[in-house]
């Protein structure tokens, strides 16, 4: 572990002003501090943004504005979240453990790094950690890694549960940085690896997430479901955030499907959604929608199971949501 400076910003403007190459923002530290111990993250300075006045959850029009420093536990327990976005509360509670959720922040959760074992082991190559060094996961242990949207350079997955729900809810991520403020849509914050797997997100150096704004809850029933071999405290093999709105005549009026554990980003299943809209809600349509999405999968030898798992999960979850 490299020696580093620790500084605390009084407000977001000061935090951004303190940024220079070698600075990393510190939220709950549940991922970053681990990565520093492992030598994967080697910042010169940590600017602690966990105490900035960004810890409120407030109504925003018909939606909700969630400060970036809100702890995961507080987010999941908030009455407005539980009442209006139960899928988000469930997704947060499916992540990590109570102790970790008490520390982890919304902004940090979005920016956590892949748990690919090669990324976390500095004695081995990894294009995400050391661009150009290679990706041993492609020939090695990739059982937990991506089946969609990966590249020859990287097959990592994004580990967040919360981000999958946010992607399904069309959340908007508010960002401030050296270039001013801007809003990044979800999905859209997280990148696919392409030739630059070292870049997890579209954020520019020094940009700081200040809030996540949810639009009004979509109509219909929603659900988050996570598949894992252990009943708790495990990353998703595959997860799904789904919303389904069916008209009185049985036609799918609208739907949202996002998958976790399958790609470098929370994976919005647009092809499935497109196939569903206007179709007659039922197992046939759900199976066709699942196939429309998962036929795009390019599994590796040891993660091929994720394709039928995701397909089954889409169908089952939609069946559970259908009236």
């Amino acid at each position: 572990m490299k020696a580093f400076e620790y500084a605390r910003a009084a407000d977001q403007a000061e935090a951004v002003a303190m940024f220079r190459p070698g600075v990393m923002y510190l939220g709950g530290g549940t991922n970053l501090v681990d990565l520093m111990r492992l030598g994967v993250a080697r910042p010169d300075t940590l600017v602690d943004v966990s105490r900035l006045p960004l810890d409120g959850i407030e109504p925003d029009g018909g939606g909700l504005r969630i400060g970036a420093a809100v702890r995961n536990s507080d987010l999941a327990a908030h009455p407005l979240v539980r009442e209006r976005y139960p899928m988000l509360a469930r997704a947060v509670l499916e992540g990590a453990s109570g102790q970790v959720r008490n520390m982890a922040t919304v902004g940090g959760n979005l920016l956590q790094r892949t748990r690919c074992a090669y990324f976390q082991d500095v004695s081995k190559p990894c294009n995400k950690r050391l661009p150009g060094s290679g990706c041993p996961a492609i020939e090695g242990d990739h059982a937990g890694l991506a089946v969609l949207g990966h590249s020859h350079a990287c097959v990592a997955t994004h580990p967040s549960d919360m981000a999958v729900a946010l992607a399904a809810l069309d959340a908007r991520v508010h960002v401030t940085g050296p270039g001013g403020e801007r809003v990044v849509p979800m999905p859209g914050l997280h990148r696919l690896p392409g030739d630059e797997p070292e870049r997890d997100t579209v954020l520019e150096p020094g940009e700081l997430i200040t809030a996540v704004v949810l639009p009004a809850p979509p109509p219909g029933a929603s659900r988050y479901r996570k598949v894992r071999e252990r009943a708790s405290f495990a990353f998703a093999l595959v997860s799904i955030a789904a919303v389904l709105d069916v008209d009185a005549d049985g036609t799918v009026a609208d739907c949202r499907v996002a998958l976790g554990g399958v790609a470098h980003a929370p994976w919005r299943a647009y092809h499935a959604e497109q196939a569903l809209r206007g179709s007659r809600a039922g197992e046939d349509a759900f199976a066709a929608a699942a196939e429309a999405e998962m036929e795009r999968a390019r599994p590796l030898p040891r993660n091929a199971y994720k394709v039928p798992m995701a397909r089954n999960l889409i169908v089952r979850t939609l069946l559970e949501l259908a009236p």
Binding site: M1, G39, G140, D141, L237, P308, M309, N312
Partner: protein, 673 residues
């Protein structure tokens, strides 16, 4: 009674090895090989030595002086050859842990790498028959004609199971604090399962007389076998302390533990068996392939349960070992019995299906009169009673054997059973007892690795003294106390308890003030009997039809393990073992890195053990067993039988739920989808 050290533990006053204060302590951090097979051509420590706080760098550039008899993993920095990825090749000593760690990254080790071979396979040309398997069983046994028995059989199976590398993962990481006195006496605060044996191993490695070494380990946070032998950290701390003339602490990280503190070998196990029309075994064969390192021959006794379990006219067991460029495997909870019974008891389930018999009836039909391989009588054997009592409690009679037909919503439901066995052994031990401050103090170099040994020995001593346990104090965890064998092989209580009982009896019979015992003679004179604990494990699982997720709805273990000394402690041991068995069945797996050697996953985020949410209903009960030919307490030992059988019971239940027989552990969703 409550655990006698419970208050100290929950208030944080119980010190573990790394927590012992030592005046002027320095810290040692190891450098590990990045190649699985290589020759070290040089170690450049100049950059590290120039870093803040660095006191010394140890490596094969200037091999530390060790004893003539030092071998294997403890021969630190004596050779230039690298035997596996993760092997310790150098170490930095510095004033703080952080400085040592930072400087360790600056040590430049140059290698001439060679191609490595880290993959166990059952057709590996390097497989050979070891002279013996752990601890001293023959590698092979054969009686009768297996081929003829199979040819005659009405139903047969020929199946191959695999188990992966598994790691012990005790909660307390391995740690050692070593300090030399001015006149060359060494004290090591070491996280160990046996202070006496650890002292002897450290002394031998260093080439100093054992009486000049003292090992202290008053509290140990688990071991499961990984702390049963001295590990490189123990010797490294001593060597580093000698080099810098200060006490030195080595506290391994979880990741370092994966490489240098042992693991359960992967196994490939072929079982062939056949029964006649009445379900009587005509032949049973269990062949095992497993691995060890090029440094040490450790051959796990995986096929030995078949020598104990079932009556058959033809029985063959065989172990084959291959030496790979891998870390050295070692003991992990019930070495041999645990992976071996997974295969044997899965095979018995498959045989029951093939023969159209109830799996409990198949086992009862093949209950032997004497130990099948040796022909020796059993001191006691109550497997059938365990199966019957378990069947009654579990509701086995209502079970429809057809697989894959019970459904509750998205869940497929199934139940399974497996037998378990573990040897009941004891080793020579010493103990003393004395009157002190109006009460009694009992001294023995035993280890309490979280099992409650201190509490159990307090009860045993109080029984023998006819005293209230509240006035009996047991001192353990120090090699300066009367010699004792280690906490392992489920023989701690039997070995130590015998010595404690005899020492207390000596006090009572003698002057009423002091007593001493050495059980060497008594243990040597024990009757020649087959002594084993037995049990039956029952599992009810549900399997998600869409995702392949397996959850354990119910787990029941019924055990016959002699006299149970303390019900609370026994229950903890049984359900702890069963929980570990659930981990083995469903999630525990260390992945070998074929490209780089070593392991891919090496921490608790990536190597999953069960969490509370995985354990819904778990129950352990035992049947009264009076076996006075074992030892003065009539106790058989309970540390390991809980894990044995569990994985097979779960696997058999998964088959019953789904109709799918997964023969490669762990049974993950990926294998069921």
């Amino acid at each position: 009674m409550n655990r006698v050290e419970g208050h100290d533990k929950v208030t944080g006053r119980a010190l573990y090895s790394a927590e012992y204060p030592a005046e002027g302590v320095a810290y040692c951090y190891p450098v590990q090989s990045e190649f699985a097979r290589a020759r070290i051509t040089g170690v450049d420590a100049s950059a590290a030595l120039a870093m803040p706080g660095v006191l010394a760098v140890l490596s094969s550039e200037d091999p530390p002086e060790l004893g003539e008899d030092v071998t294997g993993e403890l021969a630190l920095f004596q050779h230039r050859e690298v035997a596996y990825r993760g092997q310790l090749v150098a170490a930095v000593v510095a004033d703080t842990y952080e400085n040592a760690r930072a400087a360790a990254r600056a040590v430049v080790v140059s290698y001439e790498p060679e191609p490595h071979d880290v993959r166990l396979r059952d057709d590996h040309p390097g497989l050979y028959k070891p002279d013996k398997v752990n601890p001293d069983y023959p590698a092979d046994t054969e009686k009768g004609d297996v081929a003829a028995g199979l040819a005659e059989a009405a139903a047969t199976i020929d199946v191959t199971y695999t188990t992966p590398v598994m790691h012990n993962n005790p909660m307390e990481p391995h740690a050692s604090v070593a300090m030399w006195s001015g006149d060359g006496e060494l004290t090591v605060h070491d996280s160990t399962q046996g202070a006496s044996a650890d002292r002897d191993m450290i002394a031998q490695a260093l080439g100093v007389p054992p009486e000049r070494v003292r090992v202290v380990a008053r509290h140990v946070g688990g071991g499961f076998g990984s702390k049963g032998t001295a590990r490189p950290n123990s010797v490294l701390a001593a060597v580093a302390a000698r080099a810098v003339g200060r006490p030195v602490k080595v506290a391994l990280t979880r990741r370092q533990m994966y490489d240098v503190t042992g693991y359960r070998t992967p196994t490939i196990q072929r079982v062939r068996a056949g029964v006649d029309a009445a379900g009587r075994l005509l032949a049973l064969e269990h062949e095992v392939a497993e691995q060890s390192s090029t440094l040490v021959e450790f051959a796990e006794q995986t096929a030995t349960p078949a020598r104990v379990m079932y009556a058959t006219p033809a029985l063959r067991t065989a172990h084959r070992l291959v030496r790979l460029d891998v870390a050295t495997p070692s003991w992990m909870r019930a070495p041999g019995e645990c992976p071996g019974m997974y295969a044997l008891e899965s095979a018995m389930d498959e045989l029951a299906v093939a023969a159209g018999l109830d799996p409990i009836e198949l086992r009862v039909t093949n209950e032997p009169d004497a130990e099948p391989e040796s022909g020796m009588p059993f001191s006691s054997r109550n497997l059938v009673a365990c199966l019957r009592e378990g069947a009654r409690r579990f509701g086995w009679d209502e079970r429809d054997p057809s697989p894959g037909i019970r459904r509750q919503g998205r869940w497929l439901i199934g139940t399974g059973v497996a037998a378990s066995t573990y040897p009941a052994r004891r080793r020579p031990s010493q103990a003393s007892a004395a009157v002190e401050d109006g009460g009694y103090v009992v001294k023995i170099a035993a280890a309490d690795i979280g099992t409650g040994a201190r509490t159990a020995l307090t009860r045993i001593a109080a029984d023998a003294l006819g005293a209230d346990p509240a006035v009996v104090r047991v001192e353990l965890g120090d090699s300066d106390l009367p010699y004792a064998p280690l906490a392992g092989g489920s023989m701690g209580t039997a070995s130590w308890g015998s010595a404690v009982t005899m020492a207390c009896e000596d006090l009572v019979r003698g002057d009423g003030k002091q007593g001493f015992a050495d059980t060497t003679e008594a243990v040597g004179a024990a009757a020649k009997l087959a002594t084993h604990a037995f049990g039956a494990q029952f599992a009810e699982v549900r399997v998600d039809a869409d995702t392949g997720e397996v959850r354990i709805s119910r787990m029941l273990g019924v055990f016959a393990a002699g006299r149970i000394i303390d019900e609370t402690l026994a229950r903890s041991q049984f359900i702890g073992g069963m929980t570990m068995g659930i981990g083995m069945a469903l999630m525990e797996e260390t992945i070998t890195d074929l490209e780089f050697g070593g392991f891919v996953n090496h921490d608790l985020a990536q190597y999953h053990v069960p969490v509370n949410a995985d354990i819904e209903r778990i129950e352990a009960v035992w049947i009264d067993e009076d076996d006075d030919r074992l030892n003065p307490m009539g106790a058989k030992g309970i540390g390991e039988i809980g894990i044995v059988g569990t994985a097979a019971a779960v696997a058999n239940a998964v088959y019953h739920a789904t109709g799918r027989r997964v023969r490669d552990l762990p049974i993950t969703p990926a294998k069921l989808i």
